[in-house]
Symmetry: C2
Subunit: 192 residues, 2 copies
DNA sequence: TTTTTCAACTTGACACTGTAAAGATTGTTT
DNA sequence: AAACAATCTTTACAGTGTCAAGTTGAAAAA
Protein backbone atom coordinates (compact mmCIF):
# COMPACT_ATOMS: atom_id res chain seq x y z
CA UNK A 1 0.00 0.00 0.00
CA UNK A 2 2.94 2.25 0.71
CA UNK A 3 4.62 1.85 -2.64
CA UNK A 4 3.27 0.15 -5.75
CA UNK A 5 6.33 0.53 -7.85
CA UNK A 6 5.28 -0.92 -11.16
CA UNK A 7 2.99 -3.18 -13.12
CA UNK A 8 4.19 -6.30 -11.34
CA UNK A 9 3.30 -5.28 -7.81
CA UNK A 10 5.73 -4.54 -5.01
CA UNK A 11 8.49 -6.89 -6.05
CA UNK A 12 10.94 -5.72 -3.42
CA UNK A 13 8.86 -6.98 -0.53
CA UNK A 14 7.90 -10.13 -2.36
CA UNK A 15 11.55 -10.94 -2.94
CA UNK A 16 12.24 -10.57 0.77
CA UNK A 17 9.34 -12.82 1.70
CA UNK A 18 10.19 -15.38 -0.97
CA UNK A 19 13.80 -15.35 0.18
CA UNK A 20 12.83 -16.09 3.76
CA UNK A 21 10.49 -18.79 2.54
CA UNK A 22 13.27 -20.34 0.52
CA UNK A 23 15.52 -20.50 3.56
CA UNK A 24 12.79 -22.24 5.50
CA UNK A 25 12.32 -24.77 2.70
CA UNK A 26 15.76 -25.44 1.25
CA UNK A 27 17.96 -24.14 4.05
CA UNK A 28 20.88 -21.79 3.67
CA UNK A 29 22.77 -24.09 1.35
CA UNK A 30 19.97 -24.25 -1.17
CA UNK A 31 19.49 -20.50 -1.22
CA UNK A 32 20.06 -18.67 -4.49
CA UNK A 33 19.09 -15.37 -5.99
CA UNK A 34 17.73 -17.00 -9.11
CA UNK A 35 15.47 -19.30 -7.13
CA UNK A 36 14.06 -16.31 -5.28
CA UNK A 37 13.41 -14.57 -8.58
CA UNK A 38 11.73 -17.69 -9.96
CA UNK A 39 9.55 -17.90 -6.86
CA UNK A 40 8.28 -14.41 -7.74
CA UNK A 41 7.82 -15.26 -11.42
CA UNK A 42 10.27 -12.69 -12.63
CA UNK A 43 13.47 -12.98 -14.61
CA UNK A 44 16.67 -13.87 -12.81
CA UNK A 45 18.05 -10.34 -13.15
CA UNK A 46 14.93 -8.55 -11.93
CA UNK A 47 16.12 -8.39 -8.30
CA UNK A 48 18.91 -6.07 -9.41
CA UNK A 49 16.37 -3.29 -9.80
CA UNK A 50 15.84 -3.40 -6.04
CA UNK A 51 19.08 -4.72 -4.60
CA UNK A 52 22.65 -3.91 -5.51
CA UNK A 53 23.67 -7.54 -5.08
CA UNK A 54 22.63 -10.72 -3.32
CA UNK A 55 24.09 -9.54 -0.01
CA UNK A 56 21.80 -6.54 0.02
CA UNK A 57 18.79 -8.82 -0.39
CA UNK A 58 20.04 -11.07 2.38
CA UNK A 59 20.55 -8.04 4.61
CA UNK A 60 16.99 -6.90 3.97
CA UNK A 61 15.77 -10.40 4.79
CA UNK A 62 17.75 -10.20 8.00
CA UNK A 63 16.06 -6.95 8.95
CA UNK A 64 12.70 -8.55 8.29
CA UNK A 65 13.45 -11.60 10.43
CA UNK A 66 14.82 -9.34 13.14
CA UNK A 67 11.51 -7.48 13.24
CA UNK A 68 9.63 -10.71 13.85
CA UNK A 69 12.26 -11.67 16.40
CA UNK A 70 12.02 -8.51 18.46
CA UNK A 71 8.24 -8.54 18.11
CA UNK A 72 8.11 -11.98 19.72
CA UNK A 73 10.30 -10.75 22.54
CA UNK A 74 8.12 -7.69 23.07
CA UNK A 75 4.89 -9.64 23.27
CA UNK A 76 6.48 -12.09 25.68
CA UNK A 77 6.76 -9.40 28.35
CA UNK A 78 3.62 -7.41 27.57
CA UNK A 79 1.96 -6.37 30.80
CA UNK A 80 4.72 -7.85 32.93
CA UNK A 81 5.63 -5.55 35.82
CA UNK A 82 8.21 -7.67 37.60
CA UNK A 83 11.51 -6.94 35.86
CA UNK A 84 13.16 -10.12 37.07
CA UNK A 85 10.34 -12.17 35.64
CA UNK A 86 10.45 -10.05 32.48
CA UNK A 87 14.15 -10.69 31.96
CA UNK A 88 13.58 -14.41 32.28
CA UNK A 89 10.70 -14.24 29.81
CA UNK A 90 12.86 -12.37 27.33
CA UNK A 91 15.50 -15.07 27.58
CA UNK A 92 12.90 -17.74 26.99
CA UNK A 93 11.47 -15.85 24.02
CA UNK A 94 14.97 -15.40 22.62
CA UNK A 95 15.65 -19.12 22.77
CA UNK A 96 12.16 -20.16 21.67
CA UNK A 97 12.33 -18.02 18.57
CA UNK A 98 15.32 -19.90 17.27
CA UNK A 99 14.00 -23.29 18.29
CA UNK A 100 10.85 -22.59 16.31
CA UNK A 101 12.94 -21.47 13.35
CA UNK A 102 16.21 -23.40 13.52
CA UNK A 103 17.55 -21.89 10.31
CA UNK A 104 17.32 -18.35 11.61
CA UNK A 105 20.15 -18.41 14.13
CA UNK A 106 22.85 -19.19 11.63
CA UNK A 107 21.20 -16.91 9.11
CA UNK A 108 20.87 -13.88 11.36
CA UNK A 109 24.22 -14.05 13.09
CA UNK A 110 26.42 -15.44 10.34
CA UNK A 111 24.91 -14.46 7.01
CA UNK A 112 22.66 -11.43 7.25
CA UNK A 113 25.52 -8.99 7.71
CA UNK A 114 23.97 -7.34 10.75
CA UNK A 115 26.28 -5.47 13.06
CA UNK A 116 26.05 -5.13 16.83
CA UNK A 117 28.07 -2.73 18.90
CA UNK A 118 28.38 -4.05 22.42
CA UNK A 119 30.35 -1.05 23.64
CA UNK A 120 27.91 1.79 23.05
CA UNK A 121 24.94 1.68 25.35
CA UNK A 122 22.88 4.12 23.30
CA UNK A 123 24.11 3.64 19.74
CA UNK A 124 21.66 2.71 17.01
CA UNK A 125 22.07 -0.89 17.92
CA UNK A 126 20.44 -4.24 17.50
CA UNK A 127 16.80 -3.97 18.68
CA UNK A 128 16.56 -7.38 20.36
CA UNK A 129 19.68 -6.62 22.34
CA UNK A 130 18.49 -3.12 23.18
CA UNK A 131 15.23 -4.52 24.51
CA UNK A 132 17.03 -7.13 26.56
CA UNK A 133 19.36 -4.47 27.95
CA UNK A 134 16.57 -2.10 28.95
CA UNK A 135 14.72 -4.82 30.81
CA UNK A 136 17.82 -6.28 32.41
CA UNK A 137 18.91 -2.86 33.64
CA UNK A 138 15.55 -2.37 35.35
CA UNK A 139 16.05 -5.73 36.98
CA UNK A 140 19.58 -4.84 38.08
CA UNK A 141 18.20 -1.66 39.60
CA UNK A 142 15.45 -3.54 41.41
CA UNK A 143 17.85 -6.00 43.00
CA UNK A 144 20.24 -3.21 44.00
CA UNK A 145 23.18 -4.17 41.82
CA UNK A 146 25.83 -1.42 41.76
CA UNK A 147 25.56 0.53 38.53
CA UNK A 148 29.17 -0.09 37.70
CA UNK A 149 28.48 -3.78 37.23
CA UNK A 150 25.47 -3.32 34.93
CA UNK A 151 27.06 -3.66 31.51
CA UNK A 152 29.29 -6.54 32.55
CA UNK A 153 26.48 -8.55 34.05
CA UNK A 154 24.32 -7.81 31.03
CA UNK A 155 26.80 -9.23 28.55
CA UNK A 156 27.34 -12.33 30.62
CA UNK A 157 23.60 -12.87 30.82
CA UNK A 158 23.13 -12.34 27.13
CA UNK A 159 26.03 -14.52 26.11
CA UNK A 160 24.49 -17.29 28.15
CA UNK A 161 21.12 -16.99 26.48
CA UNK A 162 22.85 -16.63 23.13
CA UNK A 163 25.02 -19.68 23.74
CA UNK A 164 22.04 -21.79 24.67
CA UNK A 165 20.29 -20.74 21.49
CA UNK A 166 23.42 -21.49 19.52
CA UNK A 167 23.78 -25.01 20.88
CA UNK A 168 20.12 -25.90 20.70
CA UNK A 169 19.71 -24.76 17.11
CA UNK A 170 22.94 -26.20 15.78
CA UNK A 171 22.01 -28.76 13.17
CA UNK A 172 24.85 -31.08 14.14
CA UNK A 173 24.14 -31.12 17.85
CA UNK A 174 21.60 -33.63 19.09
CA UNK A 175 19.83 -33.28 22.39
CA UNK A 176 16.68 -34.45 24.06
CA UNK A 177 13.93 -31.89 24.21
CA UNK A 178 14.10 -31.35 27.94
CA UNK A 179 17.34 -29.43 27.84
CA UNK A 180 15.40 -26.32 26.99
CA UNK A 181 13.74 -26.19 30.38
CA UNK A 182 16.97 -27.11 32.10
CA UNK A 183 18.59 -24.14 30.46
CA UNK A 184 15.84 -21.74 31.27
CA UNK A 185 15.73 -22.78 34.90
CA UNK A 186 19.46 -22.33 35.21
CA UNK A 187 19.19 -19.03 33.42
CA UNK A 188 16.72 -17.83 36.00
CA UNK A 189 18.98 -19.04 38.80
CA UNK A 190 21.85 -17.11 37.26
CA UNK A 191 19.78 -13.95 37.13
CA UNK A 192 18.87 -14.14 40.78
CA UNK B 1 55.20 -41.36 5.69
CA UNK B 2 52.14 -43.49 6.30
CA UNK B 3 50.79 -43.41 2.78
CA UNK B 4 52.45 -42.03 -0.34
CA UNK B 5 49.57 -42.53 -2.67
CA UNK B 6 50.99 -41.59 -6.01
CA UNK B 7 53.54 -39.67 -8.04
CA UNK B 8 52.25 -36.29 -6.89
CA UNK B 9 52.78 -36.75 -3.18
CA UNK B 10 50.07 -37.13 -0.56
CA UNK B 11 47.46 -34.95 -2.18
CA UNK B 12 44.75 -35.77 0.31
CA UNK B 13 46.54 -34.13 3.22
CA UNK B 14 47.68 -31.23 1.08
CA UNK B 15 44.12 -30.54 0.03
CA UNK B 16 43.06 -30.42 3.67
CA UNK B 17 45.87 -28.05 4.58
CA UNK B 18 45.32 -25.86 1.52
CA UNK B 19 41.61 -25.75 2.29
CA UNK B 20 42.21 -24.56 5.84
CA UNK B 21 44.70 -22.03 4.52
CA UNK B 22 42.15 -20.75 2.03
CA UNK B 23 39.60 -20.21 4.79
CA UNK B 24 42.15 -18.22 6.75
CA UNK B 25 42.92 -16.08 3.71
CA UNK B 26 39.65 -15.62 1.84
CA UNK B 27 37.16 -16.56 4.54
CA UNK B 28 34.28 -18.94 4.19
CA UNK B 29 32.65 -16.97 1.39
CA UNK B 30 35.71 -17.13 -0.83
CA UNK B 31 36.13 -20.85 -0.35
CA UNK B 32 35.87 -23.10 -3.39
CA UNK B 33 36.97 -26.58 -4.33
CA UNK B 34 38.63 -25.38 -7.50
CA UNK B 35 40.71 -22.82 -5.62
CA UNK B 36 41.90 -25.52 -3.25
CA UNK B 37 42.86 -27.70 -6.20
CA UNK B 38 44.70 -24.79 -7.82
CA UNK B 39 46.56 -24.16 -4.56
CA UNK B 40 47.90 -27.71 -4.85
CA UNK B 41 48.80 -27.33 -8.54
CA UNK B 42 46.36 -29.99 -9.54
CA UNK B 43 43.42 -30.10 -11.91
CA UNK B 44 39.99 -29.00 -10.70
CA UNK B 45 38.64 -32.55 -10.61
CA UNK B 46 41.60 -34.13 -8.87
CA UNK B 47 40.05 -33.82 -5.37
CA UNK B 48 37.39 -36.28 -6.44
CA UNK B 49 39.94 -39.06 -6.21
CA UNK B 50 40.08 -38.46 -2.46
CA UNK B 51 36.73 -36.96 -1.52
CA UNK B 52 33.27 -37.90 -2.68
CA UNK B 53 32.24 -34.25 -2.83
CA UNK B 54 33.13 -30.87 -1.42
CA UNK B 55 31.34 -31.59 1.84
CA UNK B 56 33.59 -34.56 2.50
CA UNK B 57 36.64 -32.33 2.11
CA UNK B 58 35.13 -29.75 4.41
CA UNK B 59 34.37 -32.44 6.95
CA UNK B 60 37.97 -33.65 6.84
CA UNK B 61 39.12 -30.07 7.30
CA UNK B 62 36.82 -29.84 10.29
CA UNK B 63 38.38 -32.93 11.83
CA UNK B 64 41.82 -31.42 11.32
CA UNK B 65 40.87 -28.12 12.95
CA UNK B 66 39.20 -30.02 15.77
CA UNK B 67 42.46 -31.85 16.45
CA UNK B 68 44.30 -28.55 16.85
CA UNK B 69 41.43 -27.29 18.96
CA UNK B 70 41.44 -30.14 21.43
CA UNK B 71 45.22 -30.15 21.48
CA UNK B 72 45.22 -26.54 22.64
CA UNK B 73 42.72 -27.41 25.34
CA UNK B 74 44.82 -30.37 26.49
CA UNK B 75 48.03 -28.40 26.79
CA UNK B 76 46.20 -25.66 28.67
CA UNK B 77 45.62 -28.00 31.61
CA UNK B 78 48.79 -30.06 31.44
CA UNK B 79 50.08 -30.69 34.92
CA UNK B 80 47.13 -28.98 36.53
CA UNK B 81 45.91 -30.87 39.60
CA UNK B 82 43.18 -28.56 40.81
CA UNK B 83 40.07 -29.53 38.84
CA UNK B 84 38.35 -26.21 39.46
CA UNK B 85 41.32 -24.35 38.08
CA UNK B 86 41.52 -26.84 35.21
CA UNK B 87 37.90 -26.27 34.25
CA UNK B 88 38.49 -22.56 34.16
CA UNK B 89 41.59 -23.02 32.04
CA UNK B 90 39.69 -25.20 29.61
CA UNK B 91 37.07 -22.49 29.23
CA UNK B 92 39.75 -19.92 28.57
CA UNK B 93 41.46 -22.15 26.02
CA UNK B 94 38.12 -22.79 24.33
CA UNK B 95 37.48 -19.09 23.92
CA UNK B 96 41.06 -18.18 23.08
CA UNK B 97 41.20 -20.71 20.29
CA UNK B 98 38.38 -19.01 18.44
CA UNK B 99 39.63 -15.52 19.16
CA UNK B 100 42.96 -16.45 17.62
CA UNK B 101 41.17 -17.96 14.62
CA UNK B 102 37.93 -16.03 14.18
CA UNK B 103 36.92 -17.95 11.07
CA UNK B 104 36.96 -21.30 12.83
CA UNK B 105 33.89 -20.91 15.02
CA UNK B 106 31.46 -20.49 12.18
CA UNK B 107 33.35 -23.07 10.17
CA UNK B 108 33.42 -25.78 12.81
CA UNK B 109 29.91 -25.41 14.15
CA UNK B 110 28.02 -24.40 11.02
CA UNK B 111 29.85 -25.79 8.02
CA UNK B 112 32.05 -28.74 8.88
CA UNK B 113 29.13 -31.11 9.36
CA UNK B 114 30.34 -32.36 12.72
CA UNK B 115 27.79 -33.89 15.01
CA UNK B 116 27.62 -33.74 18.78
CA UNK B 117 25.36 -35.87 20.92
CA UNK B 118 24.70 -34.09 24.17
CA UNK B 119 22.56 -36.88 25.56
CA UNK B 120 24.99 -39.79 25.62
CA UNK B 121 27.70 -39.40 28.21
CA UNK B 122 29.90 -42.10 26.72
CA UNK B 123 29.10 -42.07 23.03
CA UNK B 124 31.86 -41.51 20.48
CA UNK B 125 31.41 -37.83 20.82
CA UNK B 126 33.10 -34.54 20.13
CA UNK B 127 36.60 -34.65 21.71
CA UNK B 128 36.71 -31.04 22.96
CA UNK B 129 33.39 -31.58 24.67
CA UNK B 130 34.44 -34.93 26.08
CA UNK B 131 37.55 -33.36 27.57
CA UNK B 132 35.58 -30.51 29.05
CA UNK B 133 33.08 -32.98 30.52
CA UNK B 134 35.71 -35.20 32.12
CA UNK B 135 37.38 -32.25 33.80
CA UNK B 136 34.14 -30.60 34.86
CA UNK B 137 32.89 -33.85 36.39
CA UNK B 138 36.03 -34.11 38.49
CA UNK B 139 35.41 -30.57 39.61
CA UNK B 140 31.77 -31.33 40.43
CA UNK B 141 32.94 -34.28 42.48
CA UNK B 142 35.51 -32.20 44.33
CA UNK B 143 32.99 -29.55 45.35
CA UNK B 144 30.46 -32.18 46.40
CA UNK B 145 27.79 -31.51 43.83
CA UNK B 146 25.12 -34.24 43.83
CA UNK B 147 25.71 -36.58 40.91
CA UNK B 148 22.20 -36.10 39.64
CA UNK B 149 23.00 -32.49 38.78
CA UNK B 150 26.22 -33.23 36.89
CA UNK B 151 25.01 -33.33 33.31
CA UNK B 152 22.73 -30.35 33.75
CA UNK B 153 25.38 -28.17 35.25
CA UNK B 154 27.85 -29.29 32.62
CA UNK B 155 25.67 -28.20 29.73
CA UNK B 156 24.95 -24.86 31.32
CA UNK B 157 28.64 -24.28 31.84
CA UNK B 158 29.52 -25.26 28.33
CA UNK B 159 26.75 -23.25 26.73
CA UNK B 160 28.10 -20.23 28.55
CA UNK B 161 31.63 -20.74 27.29
CA UNK B 162 30.26 -21.53 23.86
CA UNK B 163 28.06 -18.44 23.85
CA UNK B 164 30.95 -16.20 24.80
CA UNK B 165 33.02 -17.64 21.98
CA UNK B 166 30.12 -17.16 19.61
CA UNK B 167 29.65 -13.51 20.47
CA UNK B 168 33.33 -12.62 20.57
CA UNK B 169 34.12 -14.21 17.23
CA UNK B 170 31.05 -12.99 15.38
CA UNK B 171 32.24 -10.77 12.57
CA UNK B 172 29.30 -8.39 12.90
CA UNK B 173 29.59 -7.87 16.64
CA UNK B 174 31.99 -5.17 17.79
CA UNK B 175 33.40 -5.02 21.28
CA UNK B 176 36.36 -3.59 23.09
CA UNK B 177 39.09 -6.07 23.89
CA UNK B 178 38.47 -6.14 27.61
CA UNK B 179 35.27 -8.11 27.37
CA UNK B 180 37.30 -11.27 27.12
CA UNK B 181 38.60 -10.96 30.65
CA UNK B 182 35.23 -9.87 31.91
CA UNK B 183 33.77 -13.03 30.48
CA UNK B 184 36.44 -15.28 31.86
CA UNK B 185 36.17 -13.79 35.33
CA UNK B 186 32.42 -14.24 35.33
CA UNK B 187 32.88 -17.72 34.00
CA UNK B 188 35.09 -18.55 36.94
CA UNK B 189 32.57 -17.08 39.33
CA UNK B 190 29.87 -19.21 37.78
CA UNK B 191 31.96 -22.33 38.19
CA UNK B 192 32.55 -21.72 41.89
C1' DT C 1 61.98 -58.29 -18.25
C1' DT C 2 57.64 -57.53 -20.13
C1' DT C 3 52.83 -57.16 -19.45
C1' DT C 4 48.77 -56.16 -16.95
C1' DT C 5 46.30 -53.71 -13.77
C1' DC C 6 44.35 -49.96 -11.44
C1' DA C 7 44.31 -45.98 -8.52
C1' DA C 8 45.52 -41.09 -9.26
C1' DC C 9 45.12 -37.51 -12.17
C1' DT C 10 43.54 -34.59 -16.58
C1' DT C 11 40.34 -33.07 -19.90
C1' DG C 12 36.02 -31.74 -21.36
C1' DA C 13 31.35 -31.11 -20.57
C1' DC C 14 27.10 -29.85 -18.11
C1' DA C 15 23.90 -27.35 -15.21
C1' DC C 16 23.89 -23.90 -12.06
C1' DT C 17 25.45 -19.59 -9.82
C1' DG C 18 26.02 -14.13 -9.40
C1' DT C 19 26.31 -10.16 -12.06
C1' DA C 20 26.89 -6.79 -15.76
C1' DA C 21 25.26 -4.58 -20.19
C1' DA C 22 21.89 -3.61 -23.40
C1' DG C 23 17.28 -3.61 -24.84
C1' DA C 24 12.19 -3.66 -24.06
C1' DT C 25 8.10 -2.22 -21.45
C1' DT C 26 5.12 1.02 -19.23
C1' DG C 27 3.62 4.44 -15.83
C1' DT C 28 4.72 9.35 -14.89
C1' DT C 29 6.13 13.92 -16.09
C1' DT C 30 6.71 17.66 -19.20
C1' DA D 1 2.12 13.99 -27.69
C1' DA D 2 6.75 13.46 -26.43
C1' DA D 3 10.40 12.69 -23.23
C1' DC D 4 11.66 10.55 -19.21
C1' DA D 5 12.72 7.25 -15.72
C1' DA D 6 11.95 3.21 -13.29
C1' DT D 7 11.11 -1.71 -13.81
C1' DC D 8 11.77 -5.81 -15.95
C1' DT D 9 13.83 -9.15 -19.82
C1' DT D 10 17.35 -10.93 -22.63
C1' DT D 11 21.81 -12.09 -23.47
C1' DA D 12 26.33 -12.94 -22.12
C1' DC D 13 30.33 -14.20 -19.21
C1' DA D 14 33.19 -15.99 -15.61
C1' DG D 15 33.02 -18.92 -11.84
C1' DT D 16 31.09 -22.92 -9.29
C1' DG D 17 30.38 -28.34 -8.14
C1' DT D 18 30.21 -32.62 -10.32
C1' DC D 19 30.30 -36.32 -13.61
C1' DA D 20 32.17 -39.25 -17.55
C1' DA D 21 35.73 -40.48 -20.35
C1' DG D 22 40.49 -40.60 -21.30
C1' DT D 23 45.65 -40.59 -19.70
C1' DT D 24 49.43 -41.62 -16.84
C1' DG D 25 52.63 -44.22 -14.35
C1' DA D 26 53.87 -47.05 -10.38
C1' DA D 27 53.37 -51.41 -8.61
C1' DA D 28 51.86 -56.24 -9.17
C1' DA D 29 51.71 -60.28 -12.18
C1' DA D 30 53.33 -62.82 -15.93
Amino acid sequence: MKEKPYHHGDLRNKLIEAGIGLINEDGLKGFSLRKVAAKCNVSHAAPYSHFKDIDELIYAMGEHVTERFVEKMRTSIRGQENSLEATSLLGQAYISFFIENPQYFQFLFYHSGLTIDLDNDNANDYPPFALFRTTAYQMFHSIGLPEKAYSEKLIVLWSMVHGIASLLTNQGIRYSGDWINVFINNCIKEIE
